[in-house]
Amino acid sequence: MVMQSERAQSAKPRRGSKARNSRDSAGYRVFTWLNSTILVILCLIMLYPFVTVLAQSFSSPGAIKAGLVSFWPVDFNIDTYIAVANNGMFWRNYGNTVVYTVVATIIAMILTTSFAYVLSKEHLRGRKVLIGIAIFTMFFNGGIVPNYVLISSLGMKNTMWALVIPGAISVFNLLVMKSFFENLPKDLEEAAQIDGLSWFGIFGRIVLPLSKAVIATMVLFYSVAFWNDWFAAFLYLDKSELFPVTLFLRNLLAGASSAATEGAAASGSTASALSANIQSVTMILTVLPILFVYPFVQRHFVSGIMLGSVKG
């Protein structure tokens, strides 16, 4: 018995080591090598544009025009950073973006979570109609001019509210959240109900603390969307001191390049090409905050987006 069991025990690791051996086999090693090589190449391809922009932001305009900048800055300088940092309008617009993003994300989160929670209750009368209304807006909308007229007659033009209110509920985010709430165990809520909690109490003290992952994901979705949004601001704001930084950036980038393509018409002196490194510097400064937020939210992000996907 003892011998047998010993043999059995000693056999096990041998089988295990055999399996390990197969992982160490030539074929597997080639696979790992190939895999990592391809992934590294892919990674470099994706990083390249960013690195170039970063390098350009530290280079002189002449070197950029002559096409000498790829990975490393040529004629290293931080003059442009200083110049952009001294641009009052840039920081003003930057501050606007921060305010718009924070306020918009807070409003969007309040509206989306509460709407999604209501929709997740199957006993709610008219639930299908409410979902239908939400989904309807995914496919149809009034069009730009009617929307514009609506927003301006509501008195929201040239205010933050024009950017914050119309996009407050993204139906996609709403549906993801709804299915997440549907998957929470009903027993939990029933128990809370028996213990005397009201619906608001259940929502605030039971459901929300259990939904941190999906909330983190939605905060990320919304804040990135609001940070990057320029179109609503372009439509509804008429004063450059109210613009978000994305519009400032767009003006800088698209402005300079459309000056070249529409050169036939607008070749006047004022359309003089902006130096390429001002564009790079502004781009870098604009993406930085979002770039820093990603690593911290990523953990929730992966789990949060998966949570709604399996129904069970």
């Binding site: 025009k65 069009g143 002196s269």
Partner: protein, 556 residues
């Protein structure tokens, strides 16, 4: 999904503009009858200046507040505190209140504001043709009804011989809806930028015709075998534009709606099916076949990126001639300073080469002007608004103010009229007094876009570099501008019909022109190409345009 729609960057610009124009049509349809009523604005005389005539300082009889659309350029962000607005207020008693639109999407925003009935009274930076979209809706005013209140406009149209060109602005109802910036002299802004030193040393001098250019390119190619000496950073559109004039046709940026005047037949014909067009295409195909053209530059589809690449190749001695303006020449020159070193090269703009049709260049051109939003018509200060605009756009003193600031304070003027910027002020855009602390344009608001629109020759030369002046003189002395094409304004229903027909035709022409030139399609298939166009309804389109032309000719 609204938020998603807003951030979709693939949102087609064309769809957007068409959508806006269509919605505007619906929204403003109620107003269209108004514009046809008889004009009596004599009671709208708040601020009206009695006895206002040409070359006179306008001053409103009481303070006025007028609204103006302002395109905000990224390198010269507008400030309400700019001295220019204070100076205008002091001189004219007019306070301008601005609506800012970012330059990147200025046209779209302008359409939106006009369509929604939300536009300021004064809509500047309008190029000829851009007003058409707003005419039928009645969103902008027929300015021809009010030109008698604009003495400066009338004076300079006459003095600079622009009457015929003004006639061409008339729409099918016989009125014009924009007033353009008047240019005493008008030369093509885009032409050939050459490495003059290489052309002198290797190419046998500055080419005067397309054949001479070809010969020079062959020599340069022989010396620099790795080069493709001729390029166009604007998808070929600029090159074809000025080349077509020398071949007696129109193409590229200048293709327009494709119609051109056939003197012999006395009617309009479609440019792309003519022998002249074929001749031009054959010529460029020949250049491509001999490796003289940087074909990559002709197909660079990234907006604006094409020219950046050309600039790089210019710097690396791979391109020696390319389309551009005087600004482009400076850009190439800066890039070359980096690779060859300053002073070791010479880059400059030369007049467009002549061709089989003679030394002809594009017709004289207007510069951007303005429209007036139709709601201004009911305002009590409407007459004063017209007077102010006449002063602002056409009075020589106003033009000098917009360009150079205040005489004695910002600049001095010698007895012969030469203008010199004072040492305390810089004008970075023109490389003047770079060390001064205050910039005339960025800090004070002079020399921005309104200063460009109307210019006498003297004013233009006052800020141009010697190279610019040399280019202008060379074009004026050695080239003949074509006569403007006779107008054939379409009626509302026809406009849609015409654009439905002309857009696919133009697409076919543009695609195939490039294919023929690049050799992707054999020139032997030219007749097939013509019949393809005919299959797309070319004949009925040409008939439509000719009937519009005849109707207009009979009317006037």
């Amino acid at each position: 999904m609204t938020a998603h729609m807003f951030k979709d960057s693939r949102f087609s610009r064309r769809t957007f503009v068409t959508g806006i124009a269509a919605a505007g049509l619906l929204a403003m349809v109620g107003c269209s009858s108004k514009s046809k009523e008889a004009v009596d604005i004599s009671s709208q005389n708040v601020g009206y200046m009695e006895g206002y005539t040409a070359d006179m300082q306008f001053k409103a009889s009481e303070p006025l507040d007028l609204s103006l659309l302002w395109t905000d350029w990224p390198d010269t962000p507008v400030k309400d505190s700019w001295e220019i607005f204070k100076e205008i207020k002091e001189r004219t008693n007019v306070n301008l209140s601005l609506t800012h639109i970012p330059f990147s999407d200025a046209k779209e925003k302008r359409s939106l504001l006009i369509s929604a009935g939300d536009a300021p009274s004064i809509i500047p930076l309008v190029y000829t043709g851009e007003e058409e979209a707003f005419v039928s809706s009645g969103a902008v005013l027929p300015l021809s009804d009010y030109s008698d209140l604009m003495p400066n406009f009338q004076k300079y149209v006459k003095e600079w011989d622009l009457e015929e060109m003004i006639e061409n602005l008339r729409q099918s109802d016989g009125k014009y809806y924009m007033m353009p910036g008047l240019q005493e002299v008008s030369v093509p802004v885009f032409s050939l930028v050459l490495r003059k030193d290489v052309f002198q040393e290797v190419g046998g001098g500055i080419p005067n015709t397309w054949d001479e250019l070809r010969a020079a390119l062959v020599k340069i190619k022989a010396k620099y075998p790795d080069s493709y000496p001729l390029a166009d950073g604007f998808e070929g559109q600029s090159l074809l534009n000025y080349a077509a004039r020398a071949f007696g046709t129109q193409a590229g940026w200048g293709f327009g709606n494709g119609m051109m005047w056939d003197e012999a037949a006395g009617k309009l014909k479609y440019a792309a099916t003519s022998n002249e067009y074929k001749e031009m295409v054959t010529f460029f195909h020949g250049l491509v076949k001999d490796g003289l053209v940087d074909t990559e530059s002709l197909t660079a589809a990234d907006a604006g990126g094409g020219n950046a690449t050309v600039s790089e190749k210019f710097a690396k001695n791979q391109i020696f001639a390319a389309s551009g303006s005087t600004n482009t020449a400076i850009e190439y020159s800066t890039a070359l300073d980096k690779t060859l070193g300053a002073g070791k090269h010479q880059v400059g703009l030369v007049p467009p080469p002549g061709g089989p049709a003679g030394d002809t260049v594009e017709p004289r051109n207007f510069w951007h002007g303005f429209m007036i939003s139709s709601k201004a018509k009911d305002a009590s200060n409407f007459q004063a608004l017209l007077q102010f605009l006449d002063w602002f756009y056409y009075n020589p003193d106003a033009r000098e103010l917009l360009r150079w600031g205040v005489e004695g304070k910002h600049y001095t003027k010698a007895a012969d009229g030469t203008i010199t910027l004072k040492d305390e002020y810089s004008l970075k855009a023109r490389n003047l007094n770079l060390n001064a602390k205050i910039d005339l344009e960025i800090d004070l608001g002079f020399a921005t876009f309104p200063s460009e629109s109307t210019e006498s020759r003297k004013l233009k030369e006052s800020y141009s570099t010697p190279e610019d002046v040399e280019y202008i003189d060379a074009v004026l002395s050695s080239r003949t501008p074509l006569a403007p094409a006779p107008p054939a304004p379409l009626e509302e229903a026809e406009l849609e019909q015409a654009s439905l027909a002309s857009t696919p035709l133009k697409d076919t022409v543009e695609t195939n022109t490039l294919k023929f030139i690049l050799g992707q399609r054999d020139l032997g298939e030219w007749d097939k190409f013509v019949s393809e166009l005919e299959g797309q309804g070319l004949a009925s389109y040409v008939d439509l345009m000719n009937s519009a032309r005849e109707r207009f000719a009979a009317k006037s």
